[in-house]
Symmetry: C2
Subunit: 382 residues, 2 copies
């Protein structure tokens, strides 16, 4: 082989092997992965149509149904992060002109608005201050006003730490003949979810929070009602990578080639789900609740107040008000640099006003609360 | 916490920890990852805005520029597989009504047609039998006829093993004022590429072939000319996850939150790129060429013939004609089950007619050729 051109070496960095600090990740995600999950991820990859891999895909589908408490046949992992799964729900059922009603009380409600607009939806919103939730009456009124094809709500608002109650919402959506789309990114595995009982038609999540897995392969599910809307589309889904008419044939019995799955992340996700099934999903929920109540108590004992009203607080993510006169960013930076603990800052309406503390998946353990509180006692001004 | 609903345990599989056979992956991809890459991937995740991670993102950008031989500032890894990066190139520069001209001589040309249509393009094609390539004269004639906004070609057709010559194509695209989009999925790291010298405006690749990394984080680059078209769009990019106006702010100095990157895959990609830089990309190309020539010789000595004319063969992927009377699928199955060696079958026009043998990245080594040939001698009918 003779090269006719000379090589430009200006970007040829000479690097040492990777050295990354070990952090305790108590922010809004990613959380630390379970060691057994990292170990599974390290298994050398096989082909994406290898019989051993196809069996693993089936296991992932079953276990996702279990943690979501759904019987939806179309339950898979999307080969991207939670944001890709989120876009997948919008992309598959939205046709240009569809009225999509979004409940916005945080960053991720706004993102749903942005995404739905890109797929040609006639987007309507109901809004609440960040950290609050919608009442059933408010939802009913909005459905009466807007008559949407899709109602999109955020079960667990990662930007605020609020949990949207779902009881009765699914019945309303059937009464008004619309699909119910639910963001469960910060709830799956850590917060009680009963998708079928709640009448949810589309849901998405991520791997790196309640499931204790690295990010990159993301749960996605569609009810038969939602699949019906997909099948009745006049045009192709306006997104090839997330098109469920294609993906369902790759995950289904046809096994039609679509893309090369991120094999090792699926190894990891399978192990993470296996561990949740071993623990029992209801026990995982209980564990998250117990540890977060301990966190709340300890934070309040330290004189800190919490942003969300108690009955609507998530067990996975807590927003802590930054006290008057305290430099929130300086505290986070000090926790990271001196204690190797990551916590998050506020977004949007809550920027500069709160810290976000996550206790999710493998990280929801008493010793992590103790370690954070010990550090906070050192770092916060007396 | 009291649950008001009972748990459905019907999908609660009780599984043993993961057991996956160790395969030698000599198909069209994924290839085996380098052991050092798997080890780097196993590093516990940090936050996606952690200073240590941001430094790693910069390193990935530089090294991607190096392996592609480009100075494009907008050179990143997309948080999905190669197919997502492929869709990213189309999505960002295609506006409804744009004429997109695609050279189709294999499966991935057809996929570009499908994707471009979903973004509203007025898609035109030039075609060749699978395994052949386009001459410069044919490209010129097509540009004269269709006057496209974008010409999309496949440098390395994974479905056929053919390498499209690029010399002179970039000049033609400037003459006809169109962008040049190039699929380098099966060439990056294994086949000489000089993106800037060739005048390529948009390119994408994957991690799991020539770079020897697991799949899931995928190289993407745009020239300043392509960025200009992006900036002049009348509407938002019709794909939130792959929108480079947002992603360039996450990878750029703003570090604006977009999505939670698949941290561990980026660890892996950084290590894979580091190893290519250590070897020298031109040495990697030479290695691929030398090992594939050995493969071709050995296959021909065995009486097998190759599908692609020698001067257009890829050093990364070889299509081998299945001899008359031989059951191609049975051979592949036997190689997998008895020898733990994966090779690929044909797609589309070549279904049932060829095997696809990859020697890519870490797998491009003489001992792998020997192992495959030893097995083939046993398995093929005498």
């Amino acid at each position: 082989m003779t090269l006719t051109s000379s090589i430009n070496n200006s970007q040829r960095l000479q690097l040492a092997p990777l050295k990354i600090p070990t952090r305790l990740l108590l922010g809004p995600g990613p959380s630390n992965a379970h060691p057994a999950v990292l170990q599974a991820m390290n298994t050398p990859p096989v082909g994406h149509l290898d019989p051993a891999f196809l069996a693993l895909m089936d296991e992932i589908q079953s276990l996702l149904r279990y943690v979501w408490q759904t019987e939806n046949p179309l339950t898979i992992a999307v080969s991207g992060t939670g944001s890709a799964a989120m876009e997948g729900t919008i992309a598959n059922v939205t046709e240009p002109g569809d009225v999509v009603l979004v409940g916005v009380s945080g960053y991720f409600g706004n993102r749903l608005v942005d995404m739905a607009g890109r797929y040609g939806a006639d987007v309507r919103t109901i809004t609440k201050p960040w950290g609050q939730v919608f009442s059933l009456t408010e939802v009913r009124t909005a459905l009466e006003t807007h008559r949407p094809a899709i109602l999109a709500l955020v079960h667990a608002e990662t930007s605020t730490g609020a949990r949207q109650p779902l009881s009765g919402v699914g019945d309303l959506c059937r009464e008004f003949d619309c699909l119910l789309l639910l963001d469960t990114v910060t709830s799956l595995g850590g917060v009680p979810i009963f998708l079928d009982e709640w009448g949810v038609d589309l849901a998405y999540s991520c791997s790196q929070k309640g499931l204790g897995c690295p990010p990159g392969a993301s749960p996605f599910t569609m009810s038969p009602r939602a699949v019906e809307k997909l099948q009745q589309r006049r045009n192709k889904v306006a997104n090839w990578y997330l098109d469920m008419t294609l993906l369902s044939k790759y995950w289904g019995k046809e096994r039609t080639y679509h893309h090369t799955a991120p094999i090792n992340l699926y190894y990891a996700l399978r192990e993470a789900l296996r561990l949740v099934a071993e623990e029992g999903v209801e026990n995982s929920w209980q564990r998250h609740q117990k540890n977060v109540e301990y966190l709340w108590q300890e934070l309040e004992d330290l004189g800190l107040s919490l942003h969300v009203q108690r009955e609507f607080r998530l067990p996975t993510l807590t927003t802590v008000c930054i006290p008057e006169g305290v430099d929130g960013k300086a505290v986070s930076r000090q926790l990271l640099n001196e204690y190797n603990i990551e916590i998050g800052g506020g977004l949007g309406e809550l920027a500069g006003k709160v810290w976000r503390v996550g206790l999710m998946g493998f990280n929801s353990r008493k010793e992590n609360v103790d370690r954070l509180l010990e550090a906070l006692r050192q770092v916060l001004p007396k």
